[in-house]
């Protein structure tokens, strides 16, 4: 500090030196007033002289400062201002060193900043790719970051507007931030209905702490969409429940009749015959259910064995009709066969195709009210065998039609009406399309009825292929 002050002292010297002789001469020759005027004029003159001299030396110094090699002994030949310049050079060199250091620091910081920025960009891009929603909040619970997947969980403008979280998440994050003594990790499940439909989430929130002083910097929440898992769990539980119901119903009949037979409740031979018939039917029903489940399990594990052989389609259809006839008659449903008079050669697995037809007929009987009609028709159409199962039942709502061949799916409206496992149609679809190269279509009207149409390739495979009925062609 005193160095800078000494520069000013040096600048004051020339005017003072110049004014003293002038003042003495004026006082001696013209008295007080003239002496004062002389002092002022001499000071101004001295000042101007000093300024001129200072400016000249400043130019020299500037030139020397620009060229560091001239700074050595830079004060030589500068006379009066040698000391002053020496100080200036010192200050200048110090400032220059500080400046250089600052520049180096700045460069280092900039480089570090760029590295950090790249790291941040990389992390942000990585979080953006994560399919699970990720949210980061500050200690006050304000959202500082969210990835693209978290969009459905926040409301508010994405362009800097206030961002609000769904209430369940706000609560979870608040708990995590405020009660992080025992544990800094919390999990919660919640449901939320964004524009795309209801979703179920599982959220895990963890506080983020400063590694040095353990200060809480905020919290991060990672979410997992558990809607499908929940649906699968529900479907599984419903399936187990349906299977139990389906198993218990025929078992109930068998159990009841067995006990009543033992108790001697049936004395008449006709009654006894009726009861034996009931028991047989219920055992067959249990067998069909178990077969359906076994075949589906085999399909799922890829170990289904298909034994295809040449046979006549109507034979299989007649057997299926025989199987389902007692159930239809129990419900007073008319079972109408309308089988083609033509020989329909096919090459199927008799048991599996039979199972598919029985499943369709059984469904038709199940969902047709007493007094209704179920019609089984076969015909030949453009070189393919066509089977139709038509009923006058309750029908399938249009919105359910795309899903009826899904495993475990049950039409909600029909679910109330009758028990079922949701396996039958899935199995029919697989047997017809995958195992036999056929096709299946469904046409339904609510409270009027449903028609399933199966199409199968026609013809035998073992050398004795029979031609379908000859066609008359106009030439």
């Amino acid at each position: 500090m005193h160095r800078e002050r000494s520069i000013w002292l040096w600048l004051c010297v020339p005017p003072l030196v110049a004014s003293v002789p002038g003042a003495l001469v004026a006082w001696w020759s013209a008295g007080g007033v003239a002496a004062a005027i002389c002092v002022v004029v001499s000071c101004l003159g001295g000042g101007a002289l000093a300024a001129w001299e200072a400016r000249r030396h400043a130019r020299i110094c500037e030139a020397r400062l620009q060229r560091p090699e001239l700074r050595i002994n830079g004060t030589q030949g500068t006379g009066l201002y040698a000391g002053l310049l020496e100080e200036a050079f010192g200050i200048f060199e110090r400032l220059e060193a500080e400046n250089r250091r600052a520049r180096e620091e700045r460069t280092t910081l900039e480089a570090r900043g760029q590295v950090r920025q790249r790291e941040a960009q990389r992390l942000e891009a990585a979080l953006g790719c994560v399919e699970q929603p990720v949210l980061i909040v500050d200690p006050r619970g304000q959202v500082c970051y969210r990835n693209a997947a978290a969009a459905p969980l926040v409301t508010g403008a994405p362009d800097g507007g206030a961002v609000e979280l769904v209430p369940a998440l706000v609560e979870l994050l608040h708990e995590t931030l405020t009660r992080n003594v025992a544990t800094n990790r919390r999990a919660a499940e919640f449901e939320h209905e964004p524009a795309g439909g209801p979703r179920a989430w599982e959220a895990t929130a963890v506080t983020i702490q400063d590694p040095q002083d353990r200060r809480v910097l905020g919290a991060v929440a990672v979410l997992r969409d558990i809607a499908e898992q929940k649906q699968a769990n529900t479907r599984h539980a419903e399936f187990v429940s349906s299977v139990c119901h389906e198993l218990k119903t025929p078992m109930a009949g068998i159990r009841a009749y067995a006990e009543m037979l033992r108790d001697g409740d049936f004395n008449e031979p006709a009654e006894q015959q009726e009861v034996y018939g009931f028991i047989e039917q219920q055992v067959d029903r249990l067998t069909r259910l178990v077969d359906n489940m076994l075949n589906l399990a085999r399909i799922e594990s890829g170990v289904i064995e298909v034994k295809r052989e040449d046979c006549e389609l109507n034979d299989i259809l007649r057997k299926a009709l025989d199987t389902i006839a007692p159930t239809a008659s129990e419900k007073s449903i008319r079972l109408v066969p309308e089988l083609s008079e033509l020989y329909l050669p096919v090459h199927p697995d008799r048991d599996l195709l039979g199972q598919a037809i029985i499943n369709l007929l059984s469904n038709a009987v199940k969902y047709t009210p007493a007094g209704g009609e179920v019609r089984l028709r076969s015909r030949m159409d453009e070189g393919r065998a066509v089977i139709e199962v038509r009923d006058t039942g309750m029908g399938i709502p249009a919105e359910s039609l795309p899903r009826i061949f899904d495993r475990f799916y049950r039409v909600p409206r029909n679910n109330q009406a009758a028990a079922g496992t949701g396996l039958g149609l899935a199995l029919v679809h697989y047997i017809v399309t995958e195992l036999h190269g056929g096709a299946i279509a469904v046409d339904s009207a609510l409270d009027e009825g449903t028609c399933f149409t199966l199409t199968l390739p026609l013809g035998h495979r073992n050398g004795q292929r029979r031609k379908p009925a000859a066609r008359l062609c106009a030439v």
Partner: protein, 131 residues
């Protein structure tokens, strides 16, 4: 005058087993294949006891019970729910909500069902006698 019992089940073989067991014990049995048919029969002539399945076409057993409970004069009519439903039917709440006399799971013993029916109707008779 024998007691009249309405047996409601879409599984004909079950309804027939219950019918045969109870008819042999001297009860008068009427059967219905679903809740709606049962309700129509009920309105024509209310029975002394209803034995119903849960899951049936057109109208299920639970809805039938509700209608019976809301119908003036049959709020306390004895009802037995005979069902193959498992844990999904919250037994206690169903019993309380519908004032069921009994809830019997399938497979069931016709002998025990008969005992339950006799117990309920005998109690009802003795209560009527006291009044």
């Amino acid at each position: 005058m024998p007691h009249r019992i309405l047996v409601v089940d879409d599984e004909i073989h079950i309804a027939r087993a219950v019918q045969m067991k109870l008819a042999r014990a001297g009860f008068e049995i009427e059967t219905a294949p679903d809740g709606l048919a049962a309700w129509e029969s009920f309105q024509r002539r209310p029975p002394d006891l209803v034995i119903t399945d849960c899951q049936m076409p057109r109208m299920g057993g639970i809805e039938l019970c509700r209608r019976i409970r809301e119908n003036p004069g049959t709020e306390q009519l004895p009802i037995i729910l005979l069902t193959a439903k498992g844990y999904e039917l919250e037994e206690e709440s169903v019993m309380l909500d519908l004032w069921l006399s009994a809830l019997i799971g399938k497979p069931f013993s016709p002998r025990e069902l008969l005992e339950t029916v006799e117990g309920i109707l005998g109690e009802a008779r003795s209560e009527a006698g006291r009044q």
